[in-house]
Symmetry: C2
Subunit: 336 residues, 2 copies
């Protein structure tokens, strides 16, 4: 069985630990298509927070307590950059993390695409799943905001990292823009993986700024909408609150309620032009209306690898039980 | 009084501490023209060992015990780069040091010349002397070597850092080449400082790979040879051994004996087309023949700031006692 997972960073990385455990038990192959919208160039270094969260987590190098970055991280470079008053001062890069960015930036400056760099970094980390950035092209999530007090309030677009890390999302916020998405192409392997997939899972990542930028790459959404594989999403919301992160803040910008059902509605049913064939929710959200998408309720707290693998098993079972709405024949040539 | 010092890194930095102390006592202004031939791009970062040695030492951030790099340095990035097997593995960048290189590289990629970047970095370090790189242009010291055993022995050129840090100079070595020197221009301020100087000092730096690359920038040697200011060199050799570093190894490549007198001969007397009006040696070398250059002998061990300032005072006195051979009028318009 071939599983493709669309994913963001930290929450998606925890989910992928469960996907990998499920795959090891069942012999499945896993491809993770990872968001790059959070990527930024900081102090001249190409930083890929979601790719690195996935790579470090699956490679055993993540800080499990803090929830992001490298285990045993130190901050000497950050302290020195602060002493130089080097901007941006609001984004702290750890020393260990910086080595990753140095290798990546050096390779990219030498002409290697991000997907090839990711392969090279994974030689060390051996994540056990194939990791592909959604695109090798520039795709940055920017946020259109107003400053709190000038009159008339002028709108400006800032990088997602500035919005979230510097301002904690606490600016009047109008919308998210995926800069470069319209011109981006899926990275090599993404469309092939989707075409060959037996099941596509959408990780319980932020639907607005983690999964949406992946789907914004022309060809990826279409591959889900029109593909043969069933697509099952895992709710990032449990009982009207995000499992972790800032989905509530991002959904509010879109005027979407912070509920499992509303997120399903945001993705939409494949029968009506969306991407979902099935939707996995927590039992506390089992009664929610989901706009015609078949729902299964299982505990969604990713407390450990075993619990997460059970979630994944439920998602795959749900995928097997639904009638995918895609129009293309399945890889074996037999329409389901 | 205006003092210009031509200098390399570590030994030159110690010397400059004494120059600064002397200048504070006498009200002199000091400009250091610093070698860039050791500069390299490592892991995408522009590393300037000599500029940084001077800046850290004068700014109170150098590791006095180790003799190079930052005090309190840590090595997390280096360990991680090694784990990635990122080349070059033979050059270790410290975490604190890397912050300097990140700021420099970011500014240079934004279009600032090295001299402007050096000014910006010195806002933090406040070295108390004006620091100018010899040139803003590319000037790299390369070393023509043979590999030990292939037959026929093929010559190849490697970067100075590779020759020294990786191979400890222990390859069959034919010559040094200052790549880019012929096309380089002195950085803004260098020629003005030399034209306005009351005395030019050559620090007890490596004559072959620290001072020679400075003099190789067209215009700088000419400014010394033809300038009004007396030029006094301080011997980097005491009793037939370098005070520190690798001058012996470099002099051997040029078939020049490792003696104070031989180094004076390498620089040459201004009366015969060289750059020296005077030569400061240690008492153990006082009897040496120096090809017509006036010599003064004072203790040259830079044991502390006071001892070094006394050396500097002796060098300035020597400068005042010699008849400079230059042809240009002094800044005040009165030929001496």
């Amino acid at each position: 069985m071939r599983i493709v997972v669309l994913t963001g960073g930290i929450g998606g990385a925890k989910f992928l630990v469960g996907v990998r455990a499920y795959a090891r038990r069942t012999g499945a192959e896993v491809t993770a298509v990872v968001n790059v919208g959070d990527d930024a160039v900081l102090h001249g270094l190409r930083v890929c927070p979601d790719l690195d969260s996935v790579m470090y987590t699956l490679g055993g190098g993540a800080d499990a307590q803090r929830g992001w970055g490298r285990a045993g991280e130190t901050w000497a470079v950050k302290e020195e950059l602060t002493a130089y008053r080097a901007e941006p001062t609001w984004f702290g890069l750890g020393d260990r993390d910086i080595a990753t960015h140095l290798v990546r930036t050096t390779m990219m400056n030498a002409g290697y695409p991000l997907s090839a760099v990711t392969d090279a970094l994974c030689v060390r980390w051996n994540p056990g799943v194939r990791m592909i950035p959604a695109t090798d092209d520039r795709l940055e999530t920017h946020v259109v905001v107003s400053d709190p007090d000038p009159a008339p309030p002028a709108q400006r677009a800032i990088h997602f990292q500035e919005w979230w890390v510097r301002h904690r999302g606490a600016l009047p916020t109008h919308r998210f823009v995926f800069v470069g998405a319209a011109q981006a192409e899926p990275a090599p392997g993404v469309l092939d993986a989707l075409a060959a997939a037996d099941v596509v899972l959408i990780a319980p990542s932020n639907p607005v700024v983690s999964v949406a930028p992946v789907l914004a790459v022309p060809g990826i959404r279409e591959a889900l909408v029109g593909g043969a594989a069933p697509v099952v999403g895992v709710s990032p919301i449990i009982g009207d609150a995000p499992v972790r992160g800032m989905a509530d803040r991002c959904l509010a910008v879109l005027d979407v309620p912070c509920t499992a059902a509303a997120v399903a509605g945001l993705y939409g049913s494949r029968r009506s032009g969306g991407v979902l064939d099935g939707w996995l929710v927590d039992p506390v959200d089992a009664a929610a209306e989901t706009d015609g998408v078949p729902v299964r309720a299982v505990p969604l707290w990713m407390t450990d690898e075993t619990a997460t693998a059970q979630m994944v098993a439920a998602a795959v079972e749900l995928a097997g039980s639904v009638e995918p709405a895609g129009t293309r024949p399945r890889p074996d040539g037999v329409a389901r």
